[in-house]
């Protein structure tokens, strides 16, 4: 980034610098923002695709091993991201159980795919856990009622998820929040390589360690702003779903 480096900058100066970076459409910044959203966006999509049905199943069905699965899920919800990063690192490293395989679906270390894998593992328990809680909060008679109106089992689950939509969107917000702001795991498995795996959080850590506090703050403000915009969009979706 071609921004002048300063000493301990004030919040006001950082804000100005953040605005300057955005208005200037700094290509390095654009690249970092784009990668941040690509990695966290794909991780959230995978978490939603797996976590919402998983949460719905855990909330609606009673089966052997459910309690164990729920306990594992709760544990996963509080798992330190850096530990997940470490586990993924060890799995994907050359001597790791997955790193020895040459399969196209196994990501390589220090690539965006490895970062997506780590972030998916972080956000999946949150999305599934909050979805499960939301589904369990829906009136249990609703399933019976929609079946009585001619719904298939799949349509009944869809109706229940639709009734639990506020909770499901909160699940997505929690999942997104946990990964967009996460630094330990992506630093470990991504390596913060310029033009390849540098995202907003790892760039903030780097600039801070170099003493570029104003720039680090500016990047932080951009991260907060972008995160706020995504959450506004999700809340808007929530409101639209309720109106519909």
């Amino acid at each position: 980034m071609s921004i002048s480096k300063g000493e301990h900058g004030t919040v006001r100066e950082s804000l100005i610098q953040a605005l300057h970076l955005i208005l200037k459409a700094d290509p390095a910044l654009a690249e970092i923002v784009a990668l941040t959203f690509r990695v966290s966006g794909i991780a959230l999509l995978i978490s939603a695709a797996v976590g919402i049905p998983l949460g719905a199943a855990l909330g609606l069905r009673r089966f052997a091993g459910r309690r164990l699965l729920v306990s594992l899920l709760y544990t996963g919800m509080g798992f330190p991201p850096v530990v997940i990063g470490l586990i993924v690192y060890l799995l994907l490293s050359h001597n790791g159980p997955l790193g020895q395989w040459e399969a196209p679906f196994i990501p390589r270390l220090f690539t965006p795919s490895a970062m997506i894998l780590a972030q998916t593992i972080i956000s999946l328990p949150l999305v599934a856990g909050f979805t499960m809680a939301a589904v369990m909060g829906v009136d249990p008679l609703l399933r019976q009622q929609v079946l009585a109106l001619g719904a298939t089992q799949g349509q009944a689950v869809k109706a229940i998820l639709s009734e639990a939509r506020t909770g499901v969107i909160i699940a997505l917000i929690a999942g997104f929040g946990s990964i967009i702001s996460e630094v330990g795991a992506v630093m470990l498995v991504g390596g913060n390589i310029e033009h390849r795996t540098r995202v907003l959080t790892t760039a903030i850590v780097l600039e801070t360690s170099k003493g570029n506090f104003e720039l680090a703050m500016a990047l932080g403000i951009i991260l907060l702003g972008l995160s706020f915009l995504v959450n506004v969009a999700l809340v808007y979706l929530q409101g639209r779903a309720i109106r519909e």
Binding site: L141, L142, Q144, V146, A148, L149, G150, Q155
Partner: protein
């Protein structure tokens, strides 16, 4: 009386080791208006779930239009969609009144649902509330929406699980009139579960008493009330506690 619509043959429903329903033989005629009376826990709601094919019998055979439904033989969707239930507590979706009434039609992929929904809402006197959020309705209005949501489907069978239990006399009367008219004019088979023996006598052509999961007696309304065959029915009709 026309051919049997439902035939129950040794039907039992168990939850774990507990048998909550056990009916040896029973036939329900097409176009009949049946009232099922009995105390709480008699198995009335369980029977409705079986008749709506929401749950299968644990044992025995339940025939609908000759199609046998058993423990390992679920009713096909097309048959299941000929029957619907209005429950005691109206469970409305967190959407508009109109969207609630349209729900079943949209599941069936019907594209002429707006006119049908409008007609059903007019029938229950709620056309002016079509765009109101369903959760903002009073209890009586909500139950009328639940009834509109059922009748808009033009079902062969309408199952009613104490639909007027929590309603004021005005709303109860309105629902009774709509249901009676549906049975009279469209020939819809009605099966009404009620605690109110006066309501059963007023509306139904056939009345049955369920007690601890067993169908004690079933017969034509006047005979059921005037000359019951079973002493437990006689006691129930007299309003004596038999449970």
């Amino acid at each position: 009386m026309s051919a049997p619509l439902y035939e129950l043959d040794g039907v039992k429903r168990r939850y774990g080791n507990r048998t909550v329903l056990s009916i040896d033989q029973w036939q329900i005629a097409q176009g009949d208006f049946v009232a099922l009376v009995g105390p709480n826990g008699a198995g009335k709601s369980t029977l409705l779930r079986l008749l709506n094919f929401i749950e299968p019998p644990s044992e025995g055979t339940l025939r609908y239009k000759g199609y046998a439904v058993g423990p390992r033989n679920a009713a096909p969707l097309a048959l299941r969609r000929e029957v619907t239930t209005v429950f005691q507590r109206p469970i409305l979706l967190d959407r508009s009144v109109r969207a609630n009434v349209a729900y079943g039609l949209r599941l069936r992929g019907q594209d002429r649902w707006p006119e049908k929904v409008q007609r059903a809402l007019e029938q229950v006197g709620l056309a002016n509330l079509a765009h109101r959020p369903a959760r903002h309705l009073s209890g009586g209005e909500a139950q009328r929406v639940a009834l509109a949501r059922a009748i808009v489907l033009e079902p062969e069978v309408l199952l009613l699980d104490e639909p007027t239990a929590n309603l004021d006399p005005y709303n109860a009367r309105l629902i009774e009139e709509i249901v009676s008219a549906l049975n009279r004019t469209r020939g819809t088979t009605i099966i009404l579960v009620t605690h109110n023996i006066f309501q059963a006598r007023r509306l139904a052509r056939t009345v049955g008493l369920l007690l601890e999961g067993y169908l004690i007696e079933v017969g034509e309304t006047e005979r059921f009330f005037e000359s019951p065959q079973d002493p437990r029915t006689a006691a129930f009709v007299r309003g004596e506690m038999i449970y």
